[in-house]
Symmetry: C2
Subunit: 216 residues, 2 copies
């Protein structure tokens, strides 16, 4: 069975949980307390020298790391159901929508950035919440602008089935919602996220629905 | 001919320049003054509603956006020479190494983050340089730790030919070097970057070698 090193509050681990569920793959999750520094323990560094989650072990080599690389690997090793469309331009669109969240938004909220904002600028929790909400909002607005400009038939981000863009944008929305962000002016994303919420493979991966999750 | 919307100082546009050169594809580059706000002009937003570079136009649909999605699209549309290895685990490794730079490091240095650091925390240029160098150093050290742990035969990051990881890590190194970062304790990356510097397809894409580049 595959083993996911994650954290119930990690939006990057959440993406992998959703993809594993969509593809119907069994796994066990090992919690790494990334908010308490456990990612720097010798055991954790042996799993992922970057000191980050998620990592995915399938028993056949070093653990895989970086959520987007793990998602692409899951897609290549377990092609059905597909998370990327078949046409090359569609694949580029779906990857780019996902990367707005995975590259340009979420990396601004992770523990190493929070720690640096505190150390370099004295940021406390209220400033960190403002900072995080700002960049999540910016990312979601950018994705909405792309969805609004280049409409593709189907109720999900790209067609009639959930895929990579839905997974990664929904993970960003989870953090955005927890910090009080609204979807005003984002009708396309509101439609997509309602579908996600109604799908237990998405909804069960939500940080607030993991074991030992904090009260909302 | 393809058209790349970029900026000579953009490390993300640099990646696309290198990939186009490695694959021998002709293109013209249109400069977008992302340090002066031109990405927010109506013309630029029509190209990329995210207000960011790079974007790549090939004439057959809306411009492609997000550098990693563009690189994957170039790989799928022009498979030779390959930027990703053939085996699935190798592909995951190369993508993950690239994402350390493209997702976890470079997005912390871009104009929208610099602007927010100034507006929210009053950061000036010296603080921004410290901030940027810190995250570039952290990213390169993480990549080095992975390269050191999981050695793969060959002088590049993964084998005997340049690929996605070399391209994206070299783009991060360009920014790191410009801010005075050294490669102390990073023998694997030092070896790879020496190969990049010796290869005109990499070296010619460097921000300091573009038209109107600032003096080093």
């Amino acid at each position: 069975m595959m083993r996911l090193y994650g954290n119930r509050r990690s939006l990057a681990a959440m993406r992998v949980r959703i993809a594993l569920a969509l593809k119907g793959l069994a796994y066990e999750e090992v919690g790494v307390d990334i908010f308490g520094g456990e990612q720097f323990s010798p055991e954790s560094l042996a799993v992922n020298p970057q000191a980050a989650v998620p990592a995915l072990e399938d028993g056949s080599g070093p653990p895989l790391f970086q959520s987007m690389a793990i998602l692409e690997w899951l897609e290549e090793t377990h092609p059905a159901p597909a998370l990327l469309p078949g046409d090359l331009r569609g694949r580029a669109r779906v990857r780019a929508l996902a990367l707005i969240a995975a590259a340009d938004s979420h990396p601004l909220l992770v523990p190493r950035v929070r720690a640096r904002l505190g150390a370099q600028f004295g940021a406390g929790e209220p400033q960190l919440v403002d900072w995080s909400r700002h960049f999540m909002q910016l990312g979601l607005l950018a994705a909405e602008a792309h969805l609004a400009r280049d409409a593709v038939p189907g109720a999900w981000c790209h067609g009639d089935a959930p895929g990579l863009a839905d997974i990664v944008l929904y993970s960003l929305r989870a953090g955005h919602e927890q910090r009080g962000g609204t979807l005003d002016g984002m009708p396309n994303l509101a439609r997509v996220f309602a579908l996600c919420e109604a799908d237990p493979r998405f909804a069960a991966a939500h940080p607030l629905r993991q074991p030992r999750a904090p009260k909302p």
